[in-house]
């Protein structure tokens, strides 16, 4: 090739669409005068056209179906996981409630035995807990699965779960008396208890 590399460079720039107006004029006037460069340029342009003519290259007609059929099936679990990731607060709340309810229910189911929070000086007859006359219970009193009869006095709150307060007597209770007999009441009591403890804890 007799001609300067400079012109071949200009040809490539032209084909890349990066040629400035002045360079284009330069190239054009050179091509008019130089046969070998003209041939070179012609061949390059033809090459480009040949390379671009790839439109008849096509995949088989059922290509899309084949791809769609081989996509991994979206597993439900994956969908759930994505949802969980997108909503962390709701997920945390849901887990919290699941644990809380299960623990409350299991607690409800488990102890059908009579129990008292303090049995010092208290008399237990069958399923009745008696606070005898002259006895003072300091602090709260909780009776589970049994009735309560107060002849003495209680310096605090009384909670009776799954039982009754036998009112026949004239005992004294300085605090509140509360009876819990249904699952939901029991739950309500638990929730109140938890929050109360929580607040008591934070208040400290």
């Amino acid at each position: 090739m007799s001609c300067n590399k400079q012109f071949i460079n200009l040809m490539h720039k032209y084909l890349d669409g990066e040629l400035t107006r002045t360079d284009e004029n330069l190239l054009r006037s050179h091509l008019h005068s130089c046969q070998s460069c003209q041939k070179h340029f012609h061949e390059l342009k033809r090459t480009t056209t040949l390379l671009k003519s790839s439109s008849e290259l096509q995949p088989s007609s059922n290509f899309t179906e084949k791809v769609m059929a081989s996509l991994p099936k979206e597993k439900k679990r994956v969908g759930y996981m994505r949802w969980f990731k997108a909503h962390p607060v709701i997920t945390a709340a849901a887990i919290f409630f699941i644990f809380m309810f299960s623990s409350v229910f299991s607690a409800w189911d488990q102890d059908s035995q009579l129990s008292v929070s303090k049995d010092k000086n208290l008399i237990i007859q069958e399923d009745t807990v008696i606070v005898p006359e002259g006895v003072t219970v300091d602090g709260d009193l909780v009776v589970k699965n049994g009735n309560l009869k107060i002849d003495g006095s209680v310096n605090g709150n009384v909670v009776i779960i799954n039982g009754e307060h036998l009112m026949a007597s004239a005992g004294e209770i300085s605090g509140e008396i509360e009876q819990v007999n249904q699952v939901f009441e029991w739950m309500w009591y638990h929730i109140k208890d938890i929050t109360k403890n929580l607040f008591a804890f934070t208040n400290k």
């Binding site: 460079n9 084909l15 061949e43 090459t47 003519s53 790839s54 290259l57 088989s60 290509f63 996509l71």
Partner: protein, 187 residues
């Protein structure tokens, strides 16, 4: 079109698998052609194109909506195709660059104008002939040529897809074009 594709991608991201069908239909020819230009064989090209779409679907969440989808997709296509060549080839002895030259490989040492005997009996249908000549180029030239001429991508886009500097893209296009000019002169 690009905005419509973006809408479709959003649906796919939400888990609508059927929306992906439009993506495949729209890009299948381009992706196939890119793979074909790099790998040089229709059957394998189809296989690679299919893998490209599957990988795009599986990784759709890593696609950044602010960028151009085609760029992302073509990047997957070229990566998969180049990987395939790397895995399969015992012909590195021809693809290897000759020491002291940039981009010249052992092919350039072969008498250029003469077809190999097994190539002579092959049909000289134009496309397959062109492709045959493209296959004589090293892989890194083929991928640039494929991207440049299949979808007329800009030099900047090609540089982004292949993670190489624009200057390198330019050099490879120029050299590739020159090499093919010589080879396709007789067509």
């Amino acid at each position: 079109m690009e905005t419509k594709i973006k809408e479709i991608i959003k649906q796919v991201k939400k888990g609508d698998q059927s929306a992906f069908e439009d993506v495949v239909t729209f890009y299948q020819n381009k992706v196939y052609q890119i793979c074909f230009r790099v790998i040089g064989n229709a059957h394998e090209a189809e296989d690679l194109a299919q893998e490209t779409f599957i990988r795009a679907y599986v990784n759709i969440h890593s696609f950044d909506d602010k960028r151009k989808f085609s760029t992302w997709l073509y990047r997957i296509a070229t990566n998969i195709s180049i990987d395939r060549i790397r895995k399969k080839k015992p012909d590195y002895f021809l693809d290897a660059e000759v020491k002291g030259t940039d981009g010249l490989d052992m092919y350039s040492q072969l008498p250029a104008e003469q077809l190999l005997p097994e190539e002579e009996v092959e049909s000289l249908e134009l496309q397959s002939y062109i492709q045959q000549e493209i296959m004589q180029l090293p892989t890194k030239y083929r991928s640039v040529i494929a991207l440049r001429f299949v979808d007329e991508l800009s030099l900047a886009e090609i540089s982004e897809i292949l993670s190489i500097p624009v200057g390198t893209v330019k050099t490879r296009i120029h050299r590739g074009r020159e090499a093919l000019r010589k080879r396709l002169r007789r067509v």
